[in-house]
């Protein structure tokens, strides 16, 4: 049963069922559907009244699970629509990290209504969580985990797991803290099940634990999940006290989000976490315009270079015809190198200490590419453009080799240099590299032209 055959109710089906008042049939469909699919259906409907109607038809506990999958917009609608007596149930049964995510995105009046309707001790925690920096481990973590104390036996611990009855993955690793709330070990549910119940928990726990600090960046957290193949990771404060855990499902989102951010920066945009269709036109324009302006102003240097060589250009206007091709090829060659290096730095495959190896590789690759490209180009000009003198074709081809070599070496090294300077390497991508390479390839072109053609 692949995606094609999975049971999914379409928006039009819902509309038809409601129009035809086939409510019992609709309820039957909803019962069969997965929570994530119902949430997507509600988001896709683009009809708040209809979405709310569907939500009201769900059994109470399923409704809560659907809620956590909904878009912030629909979550807000639902909080708006339900009574103060229903709200605490909804909040209490939603995973704590989802509640935090929701509150972070909501306007003040909603936040207040949510905060008033949750238990005071939880309210304090919410406020604490809201203070963690964005994209930090603290902002990712949840408090739904099993905490055991150092004096427990395996049997007592297992009993405790049974009693707390937590949901999903958060139960498979249990965390042992001492009287100062310091994390001293972890134990898997598998160990609790297989070990002798009379043993002390401290005898079977793993003491060598991989942890992160609440202030660590989410990128570091994701790297550690990948590196150590973890399902969950405990988060501690500066005193080593357990403050929460991060589960792998949130890391899937982090990895995707970090890649999206890199895509945006590499295409010369200030990054944004909001989905494209949910972002206003003004905001989208704002994210793009700053870099476009910077690059526009930088590109005028290229114009100045042309002005300086205007005598050369005027004496042989034919030279101008090859400028777009030379600039494009240089830009493309540089983008290829910078993209590979930026991505390698992001995934950890390339390290700062590899700078020299990258330089050597890019130089040799660029020689191969440059020679092939300029040979093809030379042949193309001779065959298809017989009016172009051979010396001009030679000038263009020599420039092509030099441009490709220069572009690839610059494209390979600038991201590493950026990282060394603690800048984001993703800045050194296509658009910026192109601007730099454009200017330099023009200088090379006109100098070679002057030397070969004596103009």
């Amino acid at each position: 049963m692949s995606e094609e055959t999975t049971f999914v109710l379409e928006k039009n089906d819902v509309r038809n069922l409601i129009r035809d008042r086939k409510i019992i049939q609709l309820r039957g469909y909803l019962e069969e559907m997965y929570e994530a699919d119902i949430a997507e259906l509600m988001d896709d409907l683009n009809d708040k009244v209809l979405a709310l109607l569907l939500f009201r038809m769900l059994p109470k506990l399923k409704a809560v699970e659907v809620f956590s999958f909904l878009s912030i917009e629909n979550q807000r609608e639902i909080i708006n629509a339900i009574s103060d007596s229903e709200l605490p149930y909804l909040i209490d049964n939603t995973f704590f990290d989802d509640v935090i995510d929701m509150i972070e995105e909501m306007p003040a009046e909603f936040v207040n209504r949510v905060l008033i309707n949750i238990a005071p001790e939880k309210r304090k925690l919410v406020n604490q969580f809201l203070n963690y920096p964005e994209d930090s481990a603290g902002s990712l973590m949840t408090i739904e985990y099993v905490r055991l104390t150092e004096d427990m036996t395996v049997g007592q611990a297992l009993f405790h797991v049974r009693e707390t009855g937590l949901k999903k993955e958060t139960v498979y690793t249990c965390y042992i803290t001492n009287m100062h709330e310091k994390l001293i070990g972890i134990v898997s549910l598998r160990a609790l099940v297989t070990e002798d119940p009379a043993l002390k928990i401290t005898d079977i726990m793993e003491k060598d634990i991989i942890v992160v600090n609440t202030n660590d960046d989410q990128e570091l957290v994701a790297d550690m999940f990948k590196r150590y193949d973890l399902l969950a990771m405990p988060v501690v404060d500066n005193l080593g006290r357990l403050t929460g855990i991060i589960t792998v499902d949130d890391i899937l989102d982090v990895i995707e989000q970090e890649a999206t951010e890199d895509f945006q920066i590499m295409a010369a945009m200030t990054p944004s976490e909001t989905e494209y269709l949910d972002t206003s036109i003004f905001n989208l324009a704002k994210h793009r315009i700053i870099w476009l302006l910077v690059l526009l102003v930088s590109a005028t240097f290229t114009g100045n270079i042309m002005k300086n060589f205007s005598n050369t250009l005027e004496s042989l206007i034919l030279l101008g015809m090859f400028i777009p091709m030379l600039m494009d090829t240089g830009g493309n060659a540089g983008s290829q190198s910078s993209t590979l290096i930026i991505r390698g730095l992001a995934t950890g495959d390339i390290k700062l200490t590899d700078a020299f190896r990258v330089l050597k590789k890019e130089f040799l690759i660029s020689l191969i590419c440059g020679v092939v490209l300029s040979a093809v180009n030379f042949a193309r000009i001779l065959i298809f453009e017989p009016t172009v003198p051979a010396l001009v074709a030679l000038t263009v081809s020599l420039t092509l080799i030099s441009t490709v070599v220069m572009a690839k070496v610059i494209g390979g090294l600038l991201p590493i240099a950026a990282k060394k300077l603690k800048l984001d390497p993703a800045i050194m991508a296509g658009p910026l590299i192109t601007t730099i390479v454009d200017a330099m390839s023009l200088i090379i072109y006109f100098n070679i032209a002057q030397a070969i053609l004596h103009i």
Copy 2:
């Protein structure tokens, strides 16, 4: 304890300890280190003899775990070095999916040596797994999971879990099959622990299961993991028989790999799964040169357009000075749009049916960006380049607006069109968009120039 403070032995430390013959101390360090860190250390050493020496110093079981984290190259070295009596232990204790990954990357003589040294029934399985298409669900799955039969009670099932003693996450969901090996339900370890042991397993199992087919693409599998927040997912064949499971740690790699592939295609390279530093110069050049050639030939159209307008250009050589800036800005504006849309299509935030919304958004955004850019550019020319006539500045600025609008609309729509035509939207990224936009912006430029400047 963040990454900075985690205990990691550096390559130089190892070299020094071995040089000073402090073997006991080294062994002590290795005992404390995580398997993933030891493997990275061995890979980083770039010294096969030293790596092998370290491997020999590890306790047997830890050695096996380190083995699964090693690079293919080092795995090959180790298989080469160990005796036939040790090999079966190593293979038997490595996760099945890691064995498959290794075999897939190895030359024939190693594969034979590995196959000879594993049990016949497992050998049959290996051969079956090697036949799954690359990047399919089948190629990702493992056989280390707990299989229960439909006649078991909860107590018997829990006893079975204790007995099989599997490692890590693969134990937390158990799979129930009927007499025809068809998957009929799943049950969590948590449920086995908390439910009454006398109950029948079929009474507490979940029957509504999310599964994939062995032939499904890994991208679909990753999407389902993200969508349903799964830790593991069963894989079935066309008859619904359970053939293996996929665990979330492999999905982290898939998500990263798919993003890397998109980065490569978007920078005009044929994608490759090998790490940059591990790929030969010849292969790296090969992946880049095809697209560079295609784009080089396409870019010559731009030269032809300039040739057609050479009279216009010759009568006012000044026009040529602004061509690089116009082309770069058009390319950048188009890349921004295409990157956002390609990424949105990849993460599922944008669907094919959103084409009209994208068109509307990109048109309005491009108007804002175009107006701001050309106003700034007009002012810049008037202030800093007093020799340029105002009408030329006007020509450039009008072209700039038109180019940005055209670039963003093309950049927004081409990826969607590609997806509609079942092509990879990532092809429609910066390099190709730039080439298209370059040609069109020149046509616009010269036409506006002819109209306004009457040349």
